[in-house]
Every structure is written in structure tokens, then in C-alpha cells.
């Protein structure tokens, strides 16, 4: 028996959310005596980077070093992971919830005849059956979910588990798989990717601006603070709808769900749909000129004031800290 963890990588490094999934897999294996923790990585990647996955708790890394898998073709990834799962005799698959993770997990559930639980926030409770706690209603509630199948797929919500990097380098085993061409039916023609920026879903600190920022020409104020904090930048839905900011920065119910340690919201009213995307943040700071803005009710710290005055001062104060 073993626990298999599907890991994602981008630009040569394993994603932090995937390392969290490995840590989760390790804790699960310890709690349930579920055997070895095996990480599976698809596509070209440096072996040293992969060995590092051991520090998050993997006993072994299986590397399907096939260039064709670098592109995130969902079906091909699902097929490859299914093969590794079966060959390794695993009983549980763990992965990080993400747009790729979801898509792959869903196809795998059907291929493997497994039960799939998404948005998992805690280790399984096996005192009476097999129950997993997951986040539902966009973070507004939790559901204790009983799982009635032998094979299980758990998609772990980001920041729900503590990432422990206290293991040691893991052996990396290269595996050749024969993935039928029929699995490469979607063709990726091009990619537009923001490079060099802190990616929002991975960011540990996020600074977001809303309609209170008045226009895209003022975003340097948000970016300056973000840069000082090493943060990613986000925005409210109307801001991306009007085209002030790119769509992938839109945070909320219908946008990106973030779970950083610190979320700074500037000139955002705090509509319930926006809160739905940030309610898993550890600490929320709100800057708004209206003391009645609903966001203050969801905040840990707040400043009632004009963003155009407060932001430059705050950026300076953060700079002074260093």
C-alpha cells in the first residue's frame, strides 16, 4: 500500500501547493499507517528539484520525464497518473486543488473508480468509518464527508496544511510510460503568461485594489506596496470587468480564491462575493475612506482613510522596517 501525490511544477520548480499536498500525504500516511509516500511528476524537470520533494515528506519520486507532458494536457496527465497509481499499488491519491489538479482528479476518479473529495482541509478521521472535512460554500462552511470507497482521491485546499520541509532528499526514479496519442487530443497553441510576478494563488501576501483606486493609472501605488511586501496583486471584479487589471487578478466568489497569510484590501467595499475569495486568509487589513464599508467587519486591522494618502506612507513604513 502507498499514498501517491500528484505534483505540479512551473518554470522549473515544484509548486508550493504541491509540496503542501506532499506534506499532507506524509501526515496521512503516518496517521493511518498507509505506507510509502510516492510523489509523481510529469514532464521535464531537474532531478535535483525533484529530490527536494523528499523534504516535504515523499519517500520516493516517480518522474515521467516525457517532454510531451510539459504542456498541461488534462487527459494525458490523468492517463499517466492512473498508470503510476496502479503500478505502485496505491490506495489514496493526494493532490493540491488547482485548475489543473481539479481537471486531472475528476478524470482519475472515473478511471480508478475512486471516491473524490475536494477542498479537503484536515486529515481523515477514521474513528468511525472514513471521514474528511472539506470547505464548502466558498469558504463559508465546512462539511464532514464520509467516503464509501476503497480508493480515495483527496484534493487539498491550499494553506490548509502546514508545509513541513524537515525530511531529506528523496530518490528519483525515472519511469517511461506509453501514453496513447489519443490522449493528446487538445492542442495548446500558445500561452500568455505573466512571468516574474508573484503568482496570486501561490502568494503568501496579497495586495488588492478595488474601484476606490479610481483608475488603472493609480495602480503603481498598489504595486509599490506589493513590491515592498513581496506580495502578489489582486483586484475586485468590477476592476477586471472594466479592464483596469487583467482577469486572472480578480479575487472572489467568481474569481481566484486566495488564502495568504496577509491580505491587504484597498478601496474595496467588501461585498460578500469578494469576501468569499479571501475568507481563508490568516490576517486581513482593510484601507477604505468609508468607516462603514462592510469589509471592516471581516478585517483584523483597518485604516479609515484615503488610499492615495495612506498607501505611499504605508509603503515607506514597510521599507523602513527592513
Amino acid at each position: 500500500m502507498s499514498v501517491l501525490v500528484y505534483i505540479e511544477h512551473a518554470e522549473g520548480s515544484v509548486k508550493k501547493t504541491s509540496l503542501e499536498a506532499v506534506s499532507y500525504g506524509k501526515a496521512l500516511s503516518e496517521k493511518l499507517s498507509a505506507g510509502e509516500v510516492i510523489a509523481v511528476a510529469l514532464g521535464r524537470l531537474d532531478s535535483g528539484e525533484l529530490a527536494n520533494v523528499g523534504q516535504a515528506g515523499a519517500d520516493k519520486v516517480i518522474h515521467v520525464d516525457d517532454e510531451k507532458l510539459n504542456a498541461g494536457v488534462i487527459q494525458a496527465h490523468a492517463e499517466a497518473v492512473a498508470k503510476v497509481y496502479q503500478q505502485s499499488g496505491s490506495s489514496t491519491l493526494v493532490l493540491a486543488k488547482s485548475s489543473m489538479g481539479d481537471a486531472v482528479a475528476a478524470r482519475l476518479a472515473v478511471k480508478l473508480g475512486a471516491a473524490l473529495v475536494s477542498n479537503v482541509v484536515d486529515l481523515p478521521d477514521t474513528s468511525n468509518g472514513y471521514k474528511v472535512k472539506r470547505s464548502i460554500y466558498t469558504g463559508k462552511a465546512f462539511a464532514e464527508t464520509s467516503v464509501n470507497k476503497e480508493h480515495k482521491i483527496l484534493a487539498v485546499k491550499k494553506n490548509a496544511v502546514d508545509l513541513k520541509m524537515n525530511g531529506s532528499a528523496a530518490p528519483v526514479e525515472k519511469v517511461d510510460l506509453d501514453i496513447a496519442p489519443a490522449n493528446f487530443v487538445t492542442e495548446i497553441t500558445s500561452t500568455d503568461k505573466a512571468t516574474g510576478e508573484v503568482l496570486l494563488p501561490e502568494a503568501d501576501i496579497v495586495v488588492s485594489g478595488g474601484r476606490g483606486m479610481k483608475g488603472p493609472e493609480n495602480w503603481n501605488l498598489i504595486e509599490d506596496l506589493a513590491k515592498e511586501l513581496g506580495a502578489g496583486t489582486g483586484c475586485s471584479k468590477p476592476v477586471s470587468d472594466i479592464g483596469w487589471r487583467p482577469h486572472h487578478e480578480h479575487v472572489g466568489q467568481t474569481g481566484v480564491k486566495v488564502a495568504p497569510s496577509l491580505y491587504v484590501a484597498v478601496g474595496i467595499s467588501g461585498a460578500i462575493q469578494h469576501l468569499a475569495g479571501v475568507n481563508s486568509s490568516k490576517c486581513i487589513v482593510v484601507i477604505n475612506k468609508d468607516a462603514e464599508a462592510p469589509f471592516f467587519k471581516a478585517a483584523d486591522y483597518g485604516i479609515v482613510g484615503d488610499a492615495f494618502e495612506v498607501l505611499p506612507k504605508l509603503t515607506e513604513a514597510v521599507k523602513a522596517l527592513k
Binding site: I74, S118, K140, N148, K193, F296
Partner: protein, 245 residues
């Protein structure tokens, strides 16, 4: 060309989420139900495609009788007919099986869904249906054009987007800005009353996961306000008290 759009019946995004019966049931008291916001984007794009390509457009929901007003609303927005699989949608694999069974019978060219439902946020049903039918599934799709039997799409990835192509048939999990939400007009509402809404029995009843109890997150403490002329204080609090810097 035949298009199927999968519709969830979910609490309005402003609803207060509460539970009853010892936290075993969702409290519907005072809650207004809507078409899932992502499903609404899928539907809006499907209506545009229908007009552009002369397609037929069917909507489907797996749910009990209470979801029919939501299906009628989808008909008012522009679907031609509706199917309700009469069962409680207890888990995503079960729902996917129902949709796949109907799709097998009717050979749709394009199946559109939301990227995720806003009640259970699984983001799973499209992939499952794709796998069950042996066809590609792509999600989250933010642009979708059809040229002949080729579908050209843009898919959101972390920090950007990816352009991709595939052949029909296909399953797409949709999100904005694929199209703008459509509001039904009077004529749509009138005609929706007489459009066909077929109720069918579920195929099989195997349930892989089941919710035993619900729980609300702990209440948030009150906000600590810092004077706008003393932002250094905020930085100190973030460093020493919240320990996030």
C-alpha cells in the same frame, strides 16, 4: 449542432449560510436560489452560439422538483428544452453519471458547464463527464469559439492563459469573460412556460461520498483600527502581533 448546458440550483451569492437538524441539513429558510453564476456564463455563451450556428440548446439539472423554477429561468434566457433528472445531487460522481447517461442517449456536440458549483465548489463534474464519455474536458474556459468541428478556447491558468484547440465533441467548464450574463426578457419568460421540461429517473444510485455534518467557521473578532496618520503602528502590529511580516 446540439449543445447541452448543465445548470446548478444554488443559494444566491449573498445568502447567509446556516444549517438545521443538528447541522445535518442546509437551512433553506429565506434563501433565494439562482442559476450557478458560472453555469450562467456557460448558458450565456451557449445562447450566443445557438444564434450564431443555428444550434439546439438543452439545459439539464440533477435535482428534486424544487429546481424547476431555475430550469425555467434557463429556458427564459434562451434554452429550447430542459431535462431534470429527478434525484438529490448528493455527490459529484453521481451527478456526472446522470449527465453522462443523458448525453450518451442524445449525442450532444458540445457540453457546457460552470467551472465549479458555488455550493460544493468541486470543479469536478466536467472532467468526470468527459472521462465517462471518452471525450476531452477543458476547464476553466474563458473564451470559446467554434469553427467547423474545431473548438478554439482560452483557458485560465495560474497567472495567465493558455490558447488551445480541440475537435468536437467536447466538455467545457466555463467562467467569465466567456460571455456576459443574460437577463431574461418578457418574451423569453412567456415562452419559457410552454417549452418542454422533461423529468427522468436517475440511472443507478451508487453514492461514493456523503455529508454527515456541516459546520460554520468560528466568528471573526472585531477589527483593530489604526489612525491614518500613524501607519507605522499598523506595520508594528502586523510584525509583532499578527506575525505576518
Amino acid at each position: 449542432m446540439k449543445i447541452l448546458v448543465c445548470i446548478t440550483h444554488v443559494p444566491d451569492t449573498t445568502s447567509k449560510i446556516q444549517f438545521t437538524d443538528n447541522n445535518t441539513k442546509f437551512d433553506k429558510n429565506g434563501v433565494q436560489f439562482i442559476i450557478g453564476p458560472y453555469d450562467d456564463y456557460a448558458l450565456a455563451r451557449a445562447v450566443e452560439l445557438k444564434e450564431q450556428l443555428g444550434a439546439t440548446l438543452t439545459v439539464i439539472n440533477v435535482g428534486e422538483a424544487e429546481t424547476e423554477p431555475t430550469l425555467r429561468k434557463a429556458l427564459a434566457i434562451g434554452a429550447d428544452d430542459a431535462i431534470r433528472v429527478n434525484a438529490f445531487p448528493s455527490d459529484s460522481l453521481f451527478v456526472a453519471k446522470q449527465i453522462a447517461a443523458i448525453a450518451k442517449e442524445n449525442n450532444y456536440d458540445l457540453i457546457m458547464m460552470g467551472r465549479e458549483s458555488i455550493d460544493f465548489n468541486g470543479g469536478m463534474v466536467h472532467g468526470m463527464v468527459g472521462e465517462m464519455l471518452g471525450i476531452p474536458s477543458v476547464s476553466p474556459v474563458m473564451k470559446l469559439e467554434i469553427e467547423g468541428d474545431t473548438v478554439k478556447m482560452a483557458r485560465e491558468i495560474e497567472g495567465g492563459k493558455e490558447h488551445l484547440e480541440a475537435k468536437l465533441p467536447l466538455v467545457a467548464g466555463c467562467q467569465e469573460p466567456i460571455a456576459e450574463w443574460k437577463i431574461p426578457n418578457m418574451r423569453g419568460i412567456m415562452s419559457a412556460r410552454t417549452k418542454p421540461l422533461q423529468v427522468v429517473d436517475p440511472a443507478g444510485e451508487e453514492i461514493a461520498t456523503e455529508v454527515t455534518t456541516y459546520q460554520l467557521p468560528p466568528a471573526k473578532g472585531t477589527v483593530k483600527l489604526v489612525d491614518k496618520d500613524n501607519v507605522e503602528e499598523l506595520v508594528k502590529l502586523l510584525k509583532n502581533e499578527a506575525k505576518v511580516l
